[in-house]
Symmetry: C3
Subunit: 344 residues, 3 copies
């Protein structure tokens, strides 16, 4: 009996089953410090306990994306070890801030299956939930991946493609308890623009660039206990390159977006996301954003802004996205659609 | 009077003397987070306070190897600054878990001396002890190194070669107070195999590989305050390479061994260890294990498994170890013999 | 209205104005662990809570230079984003240790302005202050930088060049409350030399070298939330190199100085500093010190030592500094003049 984890193949998933993922993780100030060392993160709410308290929270939470990466990392051995591609995200909601001392675990429920016409692989949809030590959900999102079949002759399952919201509505978002931007300090936050200063359709070039090193993306990906071989093992691909975890690109782009969106403080919704092209060490990453929507919330001074965040390689044209054929330009790495909270 | 530390030479050691090593170190969640960023560590007991508590501990301890590296690092300025080679380990025992907030210091007693026949160097055996802020020993091990003579004409000391146990017996091991695997959660731990599922002589290929970067091994080695020049200074060797600290290889291999030995939770004994060949940045490291022995303990549900852990470079044959001449194959980096605790 | 920060240009500064810098930062054991991973730091007071308590402090503070870097980093978006050169430091004083849990913010007052004769740039002098969550100053220093003009036709301001002390006197220094070296443990500190063992004019070669990696200096510089593009973006300079943050060189050199100055524990004054030449990844850094002055303090057993700390590249002659023309030799990276506290 093999002692190592072979991962699951397409035929191993059943609609409705709930997979409990392994290796719970307690976070501390160490994870916060490393997040700031790995990414040029400057959003004040995640940097200062005092700033977070002035906004009605108990203390500065772990960056929302760090919480996402930790939960995501736990799912890899069960969901994407034999994945051919990470196809998309939908209906992601942050339900409760994660604080130092919290312990996170994760479960995924299989909510969709569709074998590919070639019979060699299929698409698996899961709803993943991050849960803290008090059994409270902190994060919830749908992801779908293409997974190889272990046995090409295994029967195809009944096809079930879940209906996904193209985007969460502002009413779907969960605002952290007590959050209050009524006395928000724009000077300390590092940006003078409130929600009213932005317009739907406005695009922002985040200006700065970061050249990526192997040691950095591997340290980040290990920190989230993501075990996918392709990120760590230079002998895994024929070209000898280590593919950078898509979440590393998300966090880099989000951190760069501070320059122009310093007050888009908390991420509360993930509508969609595409890892358009692979990213490798040596690439210099840049980012731009587009304001897609805005809404008020019932919390004092707190607005919700829906943003497109695009990461691209140095050399791409300004606001690069798709070509005339509707396909992503080769320099585009990430196209992310999310909701953040901002003073109105 | 020179202000810098010249290190000790072979003729500077006296049988029986106890050397108090410098620079005590307080650990926190920061060291735990960095350990997870530097190594693909996934053993649940070191990742989750909740999991550790369910196993009868107060919280998740610092990884046993991190405690070892910290204690080892303290000894370098006094023991191995002028060492030609790190020859071996024996009778290593972890005596008490190290928790965030603990402060570690170290002492070494000289227990053996033998001048080499060339008269230019000799072997020094020391018993090193790691001690916490309450003066309790947390770790104890014997190490022997070959050290240069400062003065080739210095008299040879009386030869004393200590008798070393080839391996600790299960009865020699100290099981952490309160440890209890009776309600061990195999799903959360990430591996379904208990001690009864393994057989003596069984070999496990840990499958995964990690390509090593300079920044990573230097950050790790600095974190343990290990000052050996050869790890940090590219001008130190004629080939311009920085030798990777042997402990970095130990931690990488141990972390990789999660895939196949997820429930070999705590390291409690170090029987022997050989750094068979040097490791450099760019090497892709793989690991395999062999079950050498098993024993029950008096703690509920807690078994002890004696394991050989071998680290090797990518390209080595499966389960590579020694050639027909009895020497380690050139791709083999580490041959470690240790005891771990596992649910029975 | 542009949403990104264009930085300030020379004509944007007014004598007397106080700039409140953004993004306060709470520090934890995570920052301490990372400081030890990024630099070969071994000063016992910053490594061990027990050692710090034996010296009269509450616990081990964050390294003084880490506090400096955090405060400095906050000033970059407002002071040096359009800087051509970082020209100097003066009158720097550490006023209060920074402990895990403290939150730091920073302000800078413009105290001098002088347009260059070319009319395209000018020198700005600021007094920067680091402030904790109780509104207590923890750090105070003067820095001056050459800043480009945004509009070359902007009027020149009245010239005001502040009078700066060439060095702080020992009486200017603030010794941390309660600091007491009467029962200082030289063995645990890792160096046997007290102030009385040093002589003014004595030079110390710190012997060890460190070869620098891109990932390390970028992680360090991000950790201090320093956003200067030139450190992170390989496309920023024509030669494709990333300039290493001068503070990274300061911390590396200071950490190397442990070997020879293990008891120069706390940095309390910064008299002057020149980043003599740029530093790039791949450079192997070495350091030497010169004792410039010594003084007693009113605290039990606590002396103050004024030191020159020079960082240079491997291959430089011993104690390299300036050539016959009075200019720094090309291998010299840093010439720093500071006060540290040492047992008398």
């Amino acid at each position: 009996m093999a002692k190592t984890n072979p991962g699951r193949f397409f035929e191993d998933y059943r609609i409705g089953e709930v997979i409990a993922h392994a290796v719970p993780r307690t976070v501390s100030g160490g994870e916060r410090a490393l997040y700031h060392a790995l990414y040029p993160a400057r959003h004040a709410l995640y940097s200062s306990d005092e700033f977070a308290r002035a906004c009605g929270l108990d203390q500065s939470p772990l960056d929302d994306l760090a919480a996402f990466h930790i939960v995501f990392g736990k799912t890899v051995p069960d969901i994407s070890l034999n994945a051919v591609a990470n196809l998309g995200y939908a209906e992601g909601r942050w339900l409760k801030p994660v604080y130092p001392g919290d312990t996170l675990r994760a479960t995924s429920q299989v909510i969709g299956l569709k074998q590919n016409s070639n019979g060699k692989s299929g698409v698996v949809w899961v709803r993943t939930r991050g849960i803290n030590q008090d059994d409270e959900p902190v994060l919830d999102y749908i992801r779908w991946v293409m997974v190889r079949k272990g046995d090409p002759n295994a029967d195809a399952p009944d096809t079930l493609v879940p209906e996904l919201k193209p985007a969460l509505a502002a009413d779907d978002l969960v605002i952290p308890e007590g959050l209050d931007f009524a006395r928000y300090d724009f000077t300390l936050a590092g940006g003078l623009h409130r929600m009213a200063d932005y317009a739907i359709g406005e695009k922002i070039d985040h200006v700065d660039g970061v050249t990526i090193e192997e040691a950095e993306h591997m340290m980040a990906t290990r920190l989230w206990q993501n075990t996918a071989k392709v990120h760590f093992d230079a002998t895994n691909r024929e070209d000898g390159k280590r593919l950078i975890y898509g979440g590393h690109v998300i966090s880099l782009a989000r951190a760069l977006s501070f320059n122009g969106l310093a007050n888009a403080q908390m991420i509360v919704g993930l509508n969609a996301g595409a890892h358009a092209n692979p990213c490798f060490a040596g690439d210099t990453l840049r980012a731009w954003s587009e304001v897609l929507d805005m809404a008020e919330t019932t919390h004092p001074g707190v607005g919700a802004v829906r943003l497109r965040l695009v990461a691209m390689k140095h050399g791409a044209p300004a606001f690069a996205l798709k070509g005339e054929d509707g396909k992503y330009l080769p320099e585009v790495l990430l196209d992310l659609d999310y909701w953040a909270l901002m003073p109105i």
